[in-house]
């Protein structure tokens, strides 16, 4: 393995690709950008002002690109499934290393705070930066801390799968209800008044969808982390 030559090849090809990308972007910016492409962001922001959601990014992610979010969750689910399949056997000869006193005490102190922060990021996704995906991963990292510090702690498989199934099914049901009532998938069928903008209960289905995404992502990431920590390869 010739590391030096590999690094050189990768660096030069990376530089070449970046130069190509820069030339393309400059070309698009200077000359032939269609008027409709230039205005795409402005149009989205215009519709956003009728939606009653303070964080414009949330509207784009959940409302206009809600179907993509469903796909992202499906990808994460398949990744979790793959890790569960590859690392299928419980390790019998799992040499237990007692974690240090500092880690144990700190995890007891930090666990509720991290969980609370994750839920805050999830619930306030339509008002402040953050959202379901980030909140779910923060909750999963709290469980990661607990799994590292306490060797006997294990998440119940049935509870996690119940949470995940419920979240996935309710996402699709809410989407289909929008299709049924308003003729588009994830239509905002719950009344959302523009005067409520900035309140915790505002924006119709958008906070609801973000909480569901958070539960699903949190359970999937916790399962991935637990599988990687507690199981070994079956050789």
């Amino acid at each position: 393995m010739n590391l030096k030559r590999d690094v050189a090849v990768q660096t030069y090809s990376g530089l070449g690709l970046s130069a190509l990308l820069a030339i393309t972007i400059l070309n698009i910016m200077l000359h032939n950008m269609p008027q409709s492409v230039k205005r795409a962001g402005e149009k989205l922001l215009e519709i956003n002002s009728q939606d009653g959601v303070a964080n414009a990014v949330t509207t784009v992610v959940v409302y206009f690109r809600g179907f993509d979010t469903l796909g992202e969750i499906a990808v994460l689910f398949i990744a979790s499934l793959g890790i569960g399949l590859v690392l299928s056997s419980h390790s019998e000869h799992h040499h237990k290393v007692e974690s240090s006193f500092i880690l144990k005490t700190a995890s007891k102190l930090l666990f509720p705070i991290i969980i609370l922060f994750g839920i805050y990021v999830m619930v306030y996704g339509h008002l402040s930066p953050g959202g379901g995906f980030q909140g779910g991963v923060i909750v999963a990292s709290a469980f990661l801390l607990l799994l590292i510090s306490h060797q006997d702690f294990e998440l119940s498989h049935s509870v996690i799968s119940a949470f995940e199934t419920l979240a996935g099914v309710s996402y699709v049901i809410i989407g289909l209800m929008g299709l049924w009532i308003l003729d588009n998938f994830l239509g905002n069928f719950i009344p959302h008044d523009i005067s409520q903008m900035g309140m915790l209960v505002s924006g119709g289905i958008i906070p609801l969808i973000y909480i569901i995404v958070g539960i699903k992502v949190g359970s999937e990431m916790s399962m991935i982390v637990q599988n990687l920590l507690k199981r070994s390869d079956n050789e």
Partner: protein
Amino acid sequence: MIGIVILGSFIAIIIVAFASIVEKRLADSIVLSMGVGLGSVVLFFIFQAPDVALTEAVIGAGISSVIFLMALKHLKASR
């Protein structure tokens, strides 16, 4: 002032990324690639994308490197 921060994080990202390529030990290389995420968090935040910055901090610098480290542990165990 803000320009110095932007330039500094750009240079830091490039240096850390290069260091993580040439590093021989894989565990150190993963930790260095966390530094790339950290630098881009600063950049995203300065360029007024706090949503992306939060995502990068949580997923790019946080959980993905943890998953890489655990995968490395499995790789060493299977050898």
